[in-house]
């Protein structure tokens, strides 16, 4: 494209947007609201993923050591636990420490009892794993060791947690794809209608001897501008909304709601929304014209 034509195309694009300014604004509006919804949903989805991952990371295995285990068996268990790579953090809790904790929990209820004399609690290991999904399997394996009395990991609850978080992630993905397709459809349809409203104009240009690309460029640039603003505005809105949400969580001390940092999340969103808006603007314009160019 020559520089001359390039200038012409930009000028025409701006003139076109201005000439149909209500339509242009409404089209930007459509792109804004659809991408805003998609963006909001992506934020929620990203955070659910993030939170469930950190919840899952808190799943713990407790291994109770059998009272009658020999020193050798205990050694073996310790060695095994220490070198197992699936286990992140292995902490030994002596029976004495366990008793301290129990006392702290029950408070003055146990007052007057001399449990220290004959401590009923066993030694145990508290284990954090980097692969929470592997917990049930690891637990089963550990139960086989001779030094192990029993293994506790919230059987049932953990499995339920995994079912739910997996389902949440799948549903999230599914909804996100659905929403993205919806956004594509809505934006493309709006841009198509906008182009259709100017179909006669396009046809006439063709009759005067304009090449397809000479006609297309201004429309493509219009689409680019529409798509760009249609993506930037919801990003800006989401930046404020999400920032406010994070502030609210912090100011209410709801730190168990472990939200993604604002900047990172926005970058992640921008990575999807900007190309989507601009791409749809451009392609929507370019391809909607097809039927009018064929004269």
């Amino acid at each position: 494209m020559l520089f001359n034509d390039f200038c012409y195309a930009w000028k025409e694009a701006l003139k076109g947007l201005y000439r149909n300014r209500w339509l242009s604004l409404a089209s930007i509006g459509v792109v804004v609201v659809t991408l805003l919804m998609l963006g909001l949903f992506m934020l929620v989805s990203l955070n659910i993923n993030f939170i469930t991952t950190s919840v899952k990371d808190q799943v713990e295995i407790v291994v109770y050591v059998a009272d009658d285990a020999t020193a050798a068996e205990r050694e073996e268990l310790h060695a095994l636990l220490s070198k197992n790579e699936a286990l992140d953090e292995v902490r030994f809790v002596s029976r004495a420490e366990a008793l301290q904790r129990l006392k702290a929990q029950l408070g003055n209820l146990l007052e007057g009892y001399d449990l220290d004399a004959e401590n009923p609690l066993p030694d145990s290991y508290e284990i954090q794993t980097s692969l929470p999904e592997a917990v049930p399997e690891v637990a089963q394996e550990l139960e086989g060791y001779p030094a192990v009395e029993s293994v506790y990991y919230g059987r049932g609850v953990v499995e339920n947690l995994f079912t739910v978080t997996n389902a949440l992630q799948w549903v999230g993905l599914f909804l996100m794809i659905g929403l993205a397709i919806t956004a594509v459809f809505l934006i493309a349809h709006t841009i198509r209608l906008t182009v259709y409203l100017r179909g006669r104009e396009i046809t006439i240009m063709k009759y005067v001897g304009a090449t397809n690309w000479f006609i297309r460029w201004p429309f493509v640039l219009e689409g680019l501008i529409l798509g760009f603003w249609g993506a930037i505005l919801p990003l800006a809105a989401l930046y404020f909304i999400y920032g406010a949400a994070v502030d609210w969580v912090v100011s209410n001390n709801l730190l168990f709601l472990n939200l993604l940092p604002v900047e990172g999340a926005m970058l992640e969103l921008a990575k999807y929304l900007l190309p989507l808006g601009i791409g749809l603007g451009i392609l929507g314009s370019a391809f909607s014209m097809g039927r009018f160019l064929r004269v």
Binding site: L2, R200, E201, T203, I204, K206, Y207, V208, G209
Partner: protein
């Protein structure tokens, strides 16, 4: 310049032929009137020449090229060599007279200065020197028709096709417009005019092709608007 051999056209398989057995030749520099009843096929013939539609059978050559063999992407360049006045005007309604005419130059890649110089001059020629900035939809029928004519001649094409270019003009303005076309023709441009205006045809004493129900019923060198039989 133009050569039609056994040219035929029907718009649909189930419909009768709109043009049939059309044979004629137009040389460079000729001035030809195409006359005939309403529905005779005049507009269809002109639409074939700018390849708005394709012939059903037969050959139609223009500038030595067979239109049926012309690839899609050559069509814009063909149209730039032809200035056409459409029966239904086909102007960009929301734009000004100036913009409409300028657009025809822009598509050819003309430089801005040249456009700024020539467009007002051409609009002046058709009597619209004072309507440059008026939007097309705010102009009268005759004024719109003249913008169409201005757009057709602004690129100095080697062929001008005018479909009923005086249908919305009073006799005096009509004569001015036809004289304008005649002057352009004298400088070497080929001109084809489809018209119903008996007065003009009779006065000009030019070649007249008479279409009747899609067939050529007469082709006179210095013809008049009258039945050829």
């Amino acid at each position: 310049m133009i050569e039609a051999v056994q040219l035929a056209k029907r718009y649909d398989k189930n419909q009768p032929y709109v043009l049939k057995d059309v044979n004629f030749k137009v040389e460079r520099g000729e001035f030809v009137f195409i006359v005939g009843q309403s529905g005779a096929g005049k507009s269809t013939l002109l639409k074939l020449l700018i390849r708005e539609i394709l012939p059903t059978s037969g050959t139609l050559k223009i500038f030595g090229q067979d239109l049926r063999l012309m690839p899609e992407r050559r069509v814009p360049y063909l149209r730039r060599n032809i200035g056409m006045v459409f029966q239904d005007f086909r102007l960009l309604e929301e734009r000004t007279a100036y913009e409409n005419v300028a657009f025809a130059m822009q598509v050819t890649g003309a430089v801005a200065q040249e456009i700024a110089r020539r467009v007002p001059a051409v609009l002046e020629m058709v009597g619209l020197g004072d309507k440059l900035e008026a939007r097309v939809c705010d102009l009268s029928g005759g004024e719109q028709q003249r913008i169409g004519l201005a757009r057709a001649i602004v690129n100095r094409p080697s062929l001008i096709l005018a479909d009923e270019p005086t249908g919305n003009l009073d006799p005096d303005t009509s004569m001015e417009i036809i004289n304008l076309l005649r002057n352009i023709n004298i400088r070497g441009t080929t001109v084809l005019v489809a018209t119903h205006d008996r007065e003009i045809v009779d006065r000009m004493q030019k070649r007249v092709i008479h279409l009747e129900h899609g067939q050529i019923a007469g082709d006179q060198k210095k013809g008049v608007y009258a039945r050829a039989f």
